[in-house]
């Protein structure tokens, strides 16, 4: 049987195994679940090495990226300081001290470092991602179109801003006594949020069902065809 056919058959079996969970957790599901995890773990490992560790770190570190012409003239000298990658690599290896209680404090160093880096990045992230969204919400409540008020877009902007403010107000946790207004705005915001969640749920139904339909098509048409082929084949 051809590889393509084998793949289709196997894919169908895998699909059914996963869907069988809907009936109840069973040994077949369990088997394929573990296979799935195993494959992913293996894949992740190789991909990390193939796409990052080898080309970006090891090659420059050991100068494997230096290119020389046949007559000995150097085309690409690589980076002189690339060997310094050894430092973060060694530092990262401290993670493994967590298995030795006596030295596990070293692991805390790395973890601390990683958190620091995460924090530093996030600060930049705020200005890079959140800030544009802030400024993008500066919508004029009244929009003019050749001198006349464009009612629709004005209305939309107003609703937009109102929803935005109410929802933001909902997320105030602390307040001084007698700030009732914020409470009212808050509950309003909560209702608007619910509308938004409902709407999003509705629109997601399409995407999810589309995926299911695609799988069913595969099972009912492609896979059954493949099976018939095999039967005819044997």
């Amino acid at each position: 049987m051809s590889t393509a056919l084998a793949i289709t058959i196997l894919a169908g079996i895998s699909t059914l195994a996963m869907l069988s969970f809907l009936v109840r957790e069973n040994s077949i599901y369990r088997a394929f679940e573990h296979i799935f995890i195993g494959l992913s773990a293996g894949l992740g490992l190789v991909v990390t090495v193939r796409d990052f560790l080898y080309p970006k770190i090891l090659m420059p570190m050991f100068g494997w990226d230096i290119v020389v012409f046949p007559d000995g003239t150097i085309k690409d000298p690589g980076h002189p300081l690339a060997w310094m990658y050894a430092i973060p690599l060694a530092f990262g290896l401290l993670y493994y001290t967590m298995y030795f209680p006596r030295y596990s404090w070293m692991a805390r160093l790395v973890i601390g470092f990683s958190f620091g880096a995460g924090g530093g990045l996030a600060i930049k992230g705020f200005f890079n991602e959140i800030l544009p969204q802030v400024t993008a919400s500066f919508k004029p409540l009244v929009v003019f179109d050749e001198g006349t008020i464009a009612w629709m877009s004005s209305f939309n902007n107003t609703v937009f801003v109102f929803t935005l403010l109410c929802t933001m107000a909902y997320f105030f946790f602390t307040f001084r006594r007698g700030e009732a207004l914020r409470g009212i705005a808050g509950s309003g915001g909560r209702w608007l949020m619910m509308v938004c969640f409902g709407a999003f749920f509705g629109s997601t139904v399409m995407a999810r069902m589309a995926i299911l339909v695609e799988r069913l098509q595969f099972l009912l048409i492609d896979w059954t065809d493949a099976l018939l082929k095999v039967v005819g084949y044997v």
């Binding site: 809907l22 009936v23 909560r190 619910m194 629109s203 997601t204 139904v205 399409m206 995407a207 069902m209 589309a210 995926i211 299911l212 339909v213 695609e214 069913l216 098509q217 009912l220 048409i221």
Partner: protein, 298 residues
């Protein structure tokens, strides 16, 4: 035996069975209800109709940026559009900026061509003459910018996804820079991929017309671009694809019922089922045969 079975099929499993059945039936019976009229899709159709076929050295740049996950929605769109291009003998190159699209863009035109040649045995659609696959190219916006700025698109790509050098591909005869691209058609399930084309796929003098197909979730954002005229036509999810198929069938009556209409119907049924379930849930809730498990609390 039967009683134990009934006990086994609780509300939850019953729902699963219902979903399975209600989705499988329309698929198997190829049941199709007439799709809803989609004006945005008609705009797209007319744009394709407008593209001249007699001018040599003109191609359509077809970017399919979706993975297996949205085959039902984006895939149907791609099939319909490719069929239209092939029927009108408009030469096109297909490419992708997301990796999971790589196998798809390789197979889809072949499938469509095979279907057409089955329908018209004495006509022929060939790779390299009617279409060519440039494969997946990394670098997203940056790469797109390079294509747009390249003096010659074939030279820029050098080799197609099947390893032949572009110099030997007949389709590229007379194709030079982006000015040879009459239209860009981008079908995606990923946020930001259209934006990278809108930003970068043009040079100082020329910008091809942009046509776009998106998943139903993304329609609101895409409509913004349609209103602003940045895109000249839009396929909205499966519904758009279905209406496009209808338009094709109107123009080519010998065309068999295509998947998109069936899928569209199936999805419609699925939605009705979900709505039905909501209603049923409320009945159960009110007439408390089995009161809801615990109060869901935000």
């Amino acid at each position: 035996m039967i009683r134990s079975l009934l006990r086994f099929i609780d509300a939850r499993r019953l729902i699963f069975i219902l979903v399975l059945v209600t989705l499988s039936l329309p698929l198997l019976l190829r049941w199709s209800v007439p799709p809803v009229r989609m004006t945005a899709a008609e705009l797209l159709f007319n744009e394709i109709e407008k593209i001249p076929t007699d001018v040599p050295g003109k191609i359509v740049y077809l970017a399919l940026d979706y993975g297996p996950g949205t085959k039902a929605e984006s895939g149907s769109q791609a099939k319909a559009l490719i069929e239209h291009l092939m029927r009108r003998r408009i030469k096109f190159l297909v490419t992708a900026q997301v990796l999971d699209a790589a196998p798809i863009i390789n197979s889809i035109p072949d499938e469509v061509a095979a279907g057409l040649m089955e329908l018209y045995p004495n006509e022929k659609w060939e790779y390299g003459i009617d279409w060519v696959n440039m494969g997946y190219t990394a670098g997203a916006g940056l790469n797109i910018q390079n294509v747009a700025k390249a003096a010659s698109i074939p030279n820029f790509f050098k080799r197609d996804a099947r390893g032949n050098s572009t110099a030997e591909i007949p389709l590229f005869n007379g194709v030079t820079s982006i000015e040879s691209v009459s239209a860009l058609i981008q079908i995606t399930a990923y946020v930001g991929t259209l934006e990278s084309y809108l930003q970068f796929f043009a040079n100082e003098k020329y910008r091809p017309i942009f046509l776009h197909g998106c998943t139903s979730i993304a329609t609101p954002q895409s409509f913004i671009y349609l209103d602003s005229g940045q895109i000249k036509g839009l396929l909205e999810g499966i519904a758009g694809a279905a209406w496009y198929g209808k338009l094709l069938s109107d123009k080519y009556p010998d065309r068999p019922v295509d998947d998109s209409v069936v899928i569209n119907t199936t999805l419609g049924v699925a939605h009705l089922l979900v709505i039905l379930l909501i209603v049923a849930g409320n009945f159960v809730g009110i007439f408390g045969t089995r009161a809801s498990k615990r109060r869901t609390d935000v």
